[in-house]
Symmetry: C2
Subunit: 510 residues, 2 copies
C-alpha cells in the first residue's frame, strides 16, 4: 500500500491525468509504473530505478512473465541515458528477478514473496522462529519466509544455472536413450552417470574408484539416511558430529534414531583426540571445508583420523563444497587416502543446484551390497533423465566450465561481503573465507550478553535472512552468524550486511 501510494502521488499522478497517448512529460516520466525521474536523487538514478522496479515486482504490479520496456524506450521516456536503465536491469537480473529472453525482450522471472517496505515492518512469524529452541524443520520454515535479501548459507549462484546447456544436453539424451532406459533400472544409478562421476572424482577430488562402487543418491541427505540404516544394522547408535556442525545433518541423524555426540572443532579442524575419547564408533565430518567454520582438517589430524578409521571407526566424509576454492590449494578427499575406511558423499547441490537432488555415495567394498539394498528399498534408484543429462555435462567439460564461471562470480561476492563486514560489523571476527559459499563471523559477547538468535531475528525483521551460529552448535559458544554470499548480487550483499550492522546496533545495551 505504501509503495503504491508513493508511486501514484506527486508528479507521476500528474502524468496519469495528462494526455494518455503521450508517453513522457516534460519532466521526464513514463506511463510505465508512473515513473517520475524528478523523485530520483541526483547521482542515484540507477539505484532509484532498480528500487522502483523491485517494488513493483514484489507488490504484484509486474507479475512473473511481464515484459519490461526496451531500455532504449524507457531511457527516452525518463530522459536519462540508456546506461541508467541497462544498469538497473542488470542489477535485477543479477539478483534473479528479471532475465533476458532473446526476442521476447526482458521479462520478470521471479517475485519475492513480499515487497521490501512491508517486510521491513512486518512482525510476522519470522522473528518468533528464533525465539524458541531449535526445532525440527526450522530451516525449511526459515526458507519459506519472505525476505528482501537472503544471506542463508548453502546455495551457489543459482542465477548462473546453465539453462541453455541443460536443454541442449537433455535433447541429446532424449534422442539417444533406448526404451529400456525408461524402465526400472539399476538401483545404483545410470551406468553413464556412475562412469562420469568416477571421472569427475578422479579429476577434481583425487579419488580413484570403479563405476560399480558408485551409488547415485538423491543428494547427501539421502546418503546420510542410507548410511544411518547401515549403522543401525551394525549396532551403532551413537554418531559423532562436529561442533559447530551442520544443523540439518544433525537433525537427520537424530531422525534416523541416532544419538549425536559433539566433538569440538578448532583451528586444525575436528579434534580427533576428543573423538577417540568420546567412544563413538562413527563420525560425520567435513574435512575439506568444515561447516560452518570453514577450517581445513590439518595434516596431523588427517593422519590421526585415518588411523582411527583403520582401527575400525566409520568415517562419513561429507565433501559438500570442496570444489569452491579461492585463496588456498586444493585438499584431496580423505576417501582418496583410505578407500576401505571412508564412506564418501558428494553432490551437485553446490556445483549446480540443490533442486536437482543428485549426489553420489562411495562406501568401503564390504558395505556396498547393503547400501545398494538400502537404496533399492528407499526408492528403486534416482530418476534417469536428470542423471543422463548430468553425465553429459560432466563428460563434455560443461560442468567444469560452469564451475570456473561461478567461481569468479563467487570470489567477487565473497570479497564484497568481506569489505562490507569490515565496514559495517567492525567488532566481528571472520572465519573460513578462503573457500566455500559462506563465511562465519563471531562476536565478542563479553559484557554485552548478545544472543545471535536475537540478532538474526532483528535482521529478519529488517528483511535480511541469516543463520545464527548457535543453530549449528551443540554446546554453547560465542555468538555469531553464518553468512552465505554465493547466491546474491554484490550490492545486495553490501546492503544486507549493512542491515545486519543496524540490527546489531539496535540490540546494543543502551
Amino acid at each position: 500500500m505504501d509503495a503504491m501510494g508513493r508511486s501514484t502521488n506527486s508528479s507521476a499522478k500528474g502524468s496519469k491525468t495528462g494526455s494518455g497517448t503521450q508517453s513522457a512529460d516534460a519532466a521526464g516520466g513514463s506511463d510505465f509504473l508512473q515513473l517520475d525521474i524528478g523523485q530520483a536523487p541526483t547521482g542515484g538514478r540507477t539505484a532509484w530505478l532498480a528500487d522502483r522496479l523491485r517494488t513493483a515486482i514484489a507488490d504484484g504490479r509486474l507479475p512473473v512473465g511481464t515484459r519490461l520496456p526496451a531500455s532504449r524506450v524507457l531511457a527516452g521516456e525518463l530522459r536519462v541515458t540508456r546506461g541508467v536503465v541497462t544498469e538497473a536491469y542488470r542489477r535485477l537480473a543479477e539478483s534473479g528477478q528479471i532475465a533476458g529472453r532473446g526476442r521476447l525482450g526482458t521479462v520478470v522471472v521471479a517475485a519475492p514473496a513480499a515487497p521490501r517496505e512491508s517486510t521491513a515492518e512486518a512482525a510476522g512469524p519470522g522473528p518468533a522462529l528464533f525465539a524458541s529452541a531449535v526445532r525440527d524443520g526450522v530451516v525449511d520454515e526459515l526458507r519459506a519466509l519472505p525476505c528482501r535479501i537472503d544471506l542463508s548459507p548453502g546455495l551457489p549462484d543459482l542465477a548462473a544455472f546453465p539453462r541453455t546447456a541443460w536443454v541442449r544436453a537433455e535433447r541429446a539424451v532424449l534422442a539417444g536413450v533406448t526404451p529400456a532406459d525408461f524402465g526400472y533400472g539399476d538401483p545404483r544409478g545410470a551406468p553413464a552417470l556412475r562412469r562420469a562421476v568416477v571421472g569427475w572424482l578422479a579429476r577434481n577430488r583425487g579419488i580413484r574408484a570403479d563405476p560399480d562402487e558408485v551409488v547415485v543418491v538423491a543428494g547427501v541427505a539421502q546418503a546420510l539416511s542410507l548410511l544411518g540404516r547401515l549403522l543401525r544394522e551394525d549396532g551403532v547408535h551413537r554418531v559423532a558430529v562436529e561442533d559447530p556442525g551442520s544443523l540439518g545433518a544433525r537433525q537427520q541423524l537424530e531422525y534416523g534414531g541416532h544419538t549425536v555426540v559433539p566433538v569440538p572443532v578448532d583451528a586444525g579442524g575436528l579434534d580427533v583426540g576428543a573423538l577417540r575419547a568420546s567412544g563413538a564408533r562413527a563420525v560425520l565430518t567435513t574435512p575439506a571445508h568444515q561447516f560452518p567454520t570453514g577450517v581445513v582438517l590439518d595434516g596431523e589430524r588427517r593422519r590421526d583420523l585415518l588411523s582411527w578409521a583403520a582401527e575400525g571407526g566409520v568415517v562419513i566424509e561429507d565433501d559438500y563444497d570442496a570444489e569452491h576454492r579461492y585463496d588456498r590449494p586444493p585438499v584431496p578427499a580423505l576417501r582418496s587416502l583410505l578407500p576401505d575406511g571412508v564412506c564418501y558423499a558428494g553432490s551437485v547441490s553446490k556445483l549446480l543446484a540443490p533442486a536437482l537432488r543428485v549426489g553420489w555415495l562411495l562406501v568401503p567394498p564390504d558395505r556396498l551390497e547393503a547400501v545398494v539394498r538400502a537404496k533399492r528399498y528407499a526408492d528403486l534408484g534416482n530418476g534417469v533423465l536428470t542423471q543422463l543429462v548430468l553425465a553429459r555435462l560432466m563428460d563434455s567439460g560443461e560442468l567444469e566450465r560452469h564451475l570456473r564461471h561461478v567461481r569468479t562470480r563467487h570470489r567477487r561476492r565473497r570479497d564484497a561481503m568481506l569489505r562490507a563486514v569490515r565496514a559495517r560489523l567492525p567488532g566481528a571476527r571472520v572465519h573460513g573465507a578462503a573457500a566455500g559459499l559462506h563465511l562465519m563471523v563471531t562476536f565478542d559477547d563479553r559484557g554485552t550478553g548478545l544472543r545471535d538468535t536475537d540478532l538474526a531475528a532483528a535482521a529478519l525483521a529488517r528483511g535480511v535472512k541469516v543463520h545464527p551460529l548457535s543453530w549449528h552448535r551443540l554446546t554453547p559458544g560465542p555468538p555469531g552468524l553464518v553468512l552465505g554470499y554465493a547466491a546474491g548480487a554484490a550490492h545486495d550483499i553490501e546492503e544486507g550486511i549493512a542491515v545486519v550492522g543496524e540490527a546489531l546496533h539496535g540490540l546494543a545495551p543502551s
Copy 2:
C-alpha cells in the same frame, strides 16, 4: 559366432569377394550386412530381413548410433519392394531397437544384451535364478539378465515415451523457472506439480484433494518406505498384504521391518473377512486392478474395507495402473470415498515411465506432518526439473493425450497375447485381461506336478522372460505366469508365448 558364421557363408561370401564397388549382385544382395535375398524364404522376406537386422544389432555389428541405409536404397540392392524394408524397419522400431531421427535417417537406438541364438543356447545364471527360494533383489537380477523377448509385468509401452513433448516442456520450464526454484525447496514437492496432480486425480480418479495434502515422492516404492516408518512409529509391525500380491512390495515391507500377513484374494478381490480375522492393523491393497490377478474389489468388499478403515484400520491403496482400462468401466479410488481413512499412492511409472521416479502420496490429515518429515529426512524432496516438466505435461493435456495413444497400442498387444495364449497354451486359464498392462495365466497342475519356476526357467533358457506366479504368492497355489504385454510389439508377444508353449511341452512328463 553362429550368427556371424551364418551371415558370411553361402552367396553373401561371394558378393564380398566380388567387385567391392558394386552394391548388389544379380541375385539381389547388399554389401550392408552381406545380405543375400536368396536365403529368404518365399513369402517371408520381411521376417527374414527383420531377423538379420536384429541379429546384427545384438552381436554388435550395428552398434547403437549406427545409421541404417535408406529403405529405398536397401530395397533396390535387395531387389525387393520398398514395403518389405519399411515393414522390417517398422517392426524393429516397434520393439524399440531402431528409430527415425529426422534428417539423420533411421538409427540403431538399443541393443539387446545378447544375440538371439546365443541366448537361446546359454545355460547362464538365468535358469538358476528360479531354482532357489525367492531372495532379496531377485527382480533386479532377472531384469539385468539378457533376453530376446521380455514379457515381465509392470512396464507400459516405453517406446511411445513422448520425447518431443518432453523436450519442448523442459525448454519452457527452463525459460520460466526462477533462480530460487533451483535451491532447496519444499520437501512436499514443487507447488506446480502438486496442483497438477490434484487436477489429474480429480479428472481421472475421482479424488478431491488440496495441493497442500499432496506429497510428491520417488514412486510408490518410496511412498511405501515412508509409510512403513509411520506405521513403526505407531507401533504397527504386522501389515496385511494380498495373496497373491506384488513380490516387490512385500520385500519392501519386510526390509522396513514389518511382518507381512497374507490375506487371500478371490474373484471379488481382497477377502476382507480374512483381513479382519488376521488382526493386522494395516493393509496394502490394489483395489482398482489387483496385482497380479487383475480382479476389481467388488462393491460389498469395498464397503466392508472402508468400515474396517473407519474402525481404525490403515488402508494403503496402491493405485498402480488404474488408468489402463479396455473392457470395463472405471473404478473410483477408495481414497475418493474415505479421505480420512486411506493412504493413497500413485505414480507416473505406468503412465509414462518408471525411470522418472515420480509419484504422489496422500495421507489422512492427521498423518500429513509425519509424512512430510519422513520425506524431508529421506532426501529433502524430489528433483525439481522433472516435477515441473510433468506438471506442464499434465496441465497441457499432453499426458492425457499420451495415455489415449498408448491405450490403443496396449489393447492391440493385449489382444495379441490373448490370441497367442489361446493358440499356444490351450490348458491355461486367463485372469484379469480387462485392464492393466499384464495378464495372469494359471495351469491345472493335477497329475503333472508342474512348477511355474521350472517353466519360467525353461522359457528364459529359450530367451523369453516371464514371472512365475509363485514369486508373487505367500502361500502355495496353482502354478501360473504373470505376463506383461504392454512394453513389447505384437509379433514379439506372439513369438514369446509360442516359446513359453514349447517350454511347457518340454516340461511335460514323458
